[in-house]
Every structure is written in structure tokens, then in C-alpha cells.
């Protein structure tokens, strides 16, 4: 069992045109920066990217959008991104907006082997169009399907060579649920340690869900909305 790769280029080597990728992170927080850089470098195209947000013009998935590598984005909020907006308005980019909780729970469903889940989010709105509605105990729910993605790409704080992952603060966000949902899951970590160095009680993503892991480099960890209070 060797899950350890030496860098992002090697870890993503078999991702090809037209694939569907789950990408962890919320805003610019907890993004798999190294893998995104490698995907941009590799130049593959026609990707379907499932990620809560689409980055900004010059960071995160925005970098892939700029290279026109993305055919379709599935997100809950696409934020401030001029290139994104241009491609969307020109019809170059297809966008499917889905509620954030639905996005998370469709990942959970995939990771937990549940083909579909029920959520009230979107009942009575355009999100419900074409979907099965079902009433339980007097309340309507939409049936939403588990994601079916080729790769999940996530960022953790620490990981061991068996693929066990630990996240830090709100950089956890979508990473654990996406890590569970990929057919192949690639994790980049700030610190890669030996088995036994992580406390078994404190592992957020058990290694069984992680197929490849590498120590990332040069994390920028950009802040999208730096907000402070006076001292």
C-alpha cells in the first residue's frame, strides 16, 4: 500500500479532459492550492467542477476558469469573479447553482453509499423543477442524488502516509465530505507524518477514503475578506 506521492503533478497525473472533480474549500479557505496549480499547468479541459465557490479571478478555481478549463461549475455561490461572469454571460460556461446544504449532503450521500437524500431546501423554488418532491410528516422534501465524481481533491492540515487526515479550524468545511465522495481521492496536506503520529481519536477523515496523499508546498492561504476590529 503506497498512497504517498511526491507532489501535485504526480498525484493528478491521470486526471483527463472531461472528468468530474470535487474540489474542497469554502471561499479561498481550505483550498487544495497545489492541485489547482497542477491542474492549470496540465491544461486539461472540459472539466466539471463541483465546489462550493469558484474562487476569485486570480486564485482558486478562478485560475482554471481563466484558462477555460472548466465546462461546468456546480456551486452554491460563485462570488465576485469577473472572468466567471464573462464566461457565464457569453455561454462558454455552464453553471448549476444548488443550495449549500444540498451540495454538502450530496457529497455525504456518496461517501456513505446512499444513492439519494431528502432535503427541504429549495422546495417551492426553481431548484425543485424536475425533481421528485415527497411529503414526510406534513413537510415537503426534494429528493437529491449522490454526486458521482471521478476525483475528489481536498486540502488538510496534517495527514499520515495511510491517508488519515486532520483539518484545521474552518478550513475543514467541505473537505471531509468531498474526501469521502470521490472514486479516487487526492489529499494535499501541510504536514505529512508517519502512521501513529496522529491520535486515532482525532482523525477527521479515515485513510480508507484517501487514495493519494502528498505534502503541499508554498501555501498562500489568501484571505478573501480581511476584516478586523480596532484594538
Amino acid at each position: 500500500m503506497n498512497k504517498v506521492f511526491s507532489n501535485a503533478d504526480e498525484a493528478i497525473h491521470d486526471i483527463t479532459d472531461g472528468m468530474t472533480l470535487l474540489l474542497g474549500g469554502f471561499g479561498l479557505c481550505g483550498l487544495p492550492e497545489n492541485c489547482i496549480t497542477a491542474l492549470v499547468k496540465k491544461g486539461i479541459k472540459e472539466l466539471t467542477c463541483i465546489s462550493n465557490n469558484a474562487g476569485v479571478d486570480d486564485f482558486g478555481i478562478g485560475l482554471m476558469l481563466r484558462q477555460r478549463q472548466v465546462k461546468k461549475m456546480i456551486s452554491s455561490y460563485v462570488g465576485e469573479n469577473a472572468e466567471f461572469e464573462r464566461q457565464l454571460l457569453s455561454g462558454e460556461l455552464e453553471v448549476e447553482l444548488i443550495p449549500q446544504g444540498t451540495l454538502a449532503t450530496r457529497c455525504l450521500a456518496a461517501g456513505y453509499g446512499m444513492p439519494a437524500i431528502f432535503t427541504p431546501a429549495g422546495v417551492g423554488t426553481e431548484v425543485a423543477i424536475g425533481k421528485e418532491i415527497r411529503n414526510f410528516n406534513g413537510k415537503d422534501y426534494l429528493m437529491e442524488m449522490a454526486f458521482d465524481a471521478d476525483f475528489a481533491i481536498v486540502k488538510a492540515w496534517k495527514g499520515d502516509s495511510m491517508g488519515n487526515l486532520v483539518y484545521r479550524s474552518t478550513a475543514r468545511n467541505f473537505n471531509p465530505v468531498m474526501a469521502m465522495a470521490g472514486k479516487i481521492t487526492i489529499a494535499e496536506v501541510e504536514e505529512l507524518v508517519e502512521p501513529g503520529e496522529l491520535d486515532p481519536d482525532q482523525i477527521h477523515t479515515p485513510g480508507i477514503y484517501v487514495h493519494r496523499i502528498f505534502r503541499g508546498a508554498n501555501y498562500e492561504k489568501r484571505i478573501e475578506q480581511r476584516t478586523v476590529r480596532p484594538r
Binding site: 479557505c29 449549500q100 446544504g101 432535503t119 417551492g124 474552518t170 471531509p176 484571505i223
Partner: protein, 219 residues
Amino acid sequence: MLDKTGIAKRIAREIKDGYYVNLGIGIPTLVANYIPDNIDVVLQSENGLLGMGPFPFEGEEDADVINAGKQTITMLPGSAIFDSAMSFGMIRARKVNLTILGAMEVSENGDIANWKIPGKMVKGMGGAMDLVASAENIIVAMQHVNKAGESKLLPQCSLPLTGIHCVRKIVTELAVLDVLPGGGFKLLERAPGVSVEEIKNATAGKLIIEGEIPEMDLS
């Protein structure tokens, strides 16, 4: 008439000891500043945090610690971090006692529109659809009329909906209103210096006025 701070102050009075509260972006975020000191309230940020604290002091920002508006924040003692599935799990399971969010329109049967304007760039609903579909107690913080002077309290929403039959209370610069289960905006309080007549004129949906309408107590 209230300014944004006044709206936030008035909403803060709806928060009870022990509440877990989710605050949306905009005026709702300001509410945190006016929660009385003598009650314990835990703020939920739907990106995966319970126990959100104030913004950090300059130089103490941590890129890994943000709120749902992507702002740098701090965590209070007793905070807990969790993933997005659990975050919306606890929202759907109605463990969050109160959700406060903004709106473009609210209808007299409690429908809310706050995510999309046809013809404009659509940024997405984020977690709003999940929150309004699940919360048992939703307060909308908004202006009573839009910039064109048109009422945002309508017989029915004209914009694409975020959720249906979900808004329970509305606080605007003019008034506090309940949305009645059977439909209709029930006027509860007037903002300081605002007359019932002004509220009537600014409300397009069915307005229910019973008895004397007191002025808000913001002391």
C-alpha cells in the same frame, strides 16, 4: 425611522438565553453587537463553526478561521468546528433556534426572495435556501421599501423564491411585523416617530392592524 443599527438593535431583543443563532450577511451580522450581556448565545456560521466571536484585532487574522461571509473572525471559548454536512445537518434538524437574514421581498404568506434578480448576474443562493427551508424561527431584517420606493412586503413575491411559508417576523426601518400562519403582515410595533399611516403606505401586502400599535422600546 430606524437606521441599520436600529434594526439590528431591535432584532437583538428577540434573542433569548441559550439560543443558537445563525446570522446572515448585512444587517443580520450587526445584530451580534447588540446581544445583551446577561444572556448566553452561540452563533453558528454555516461554513462549520459554533461559537463565532468578534473580528480579530489587526495582525491576528487567521486565514483558516473565517465566517460564512468569508470574513476573518475569531472563535470563543467552547467553540466547535465541524464539516459542511454536519453544519447543514444541524440546520435541517432544527437545532439552530433562530435564523436572521436579509431579503429583497417577503410575501404575506411568508415566502421570501433574496437570491436572484432576473437579468442580473446571479451569484447563487449559498446556504440561504437550506436555512429558510429548515429554520423554525426566521426573522427577516430589511428595508421596508426598495430604492425605487416600492414596497418589499407584498401580496406575493415577484422575484424568484428562496423559500416558501417560512418567514415568521420582519423588522424594517419602519416597523416590526409578524407573518401570520394564515397569511398577512400583523403590525406589532412602529419605529420611533413613524405613524401607522406611513407603514400602511409602505406595505403592499395585506396589513393587519389591531388596536393601538406601540412604538418600539429600544432602551
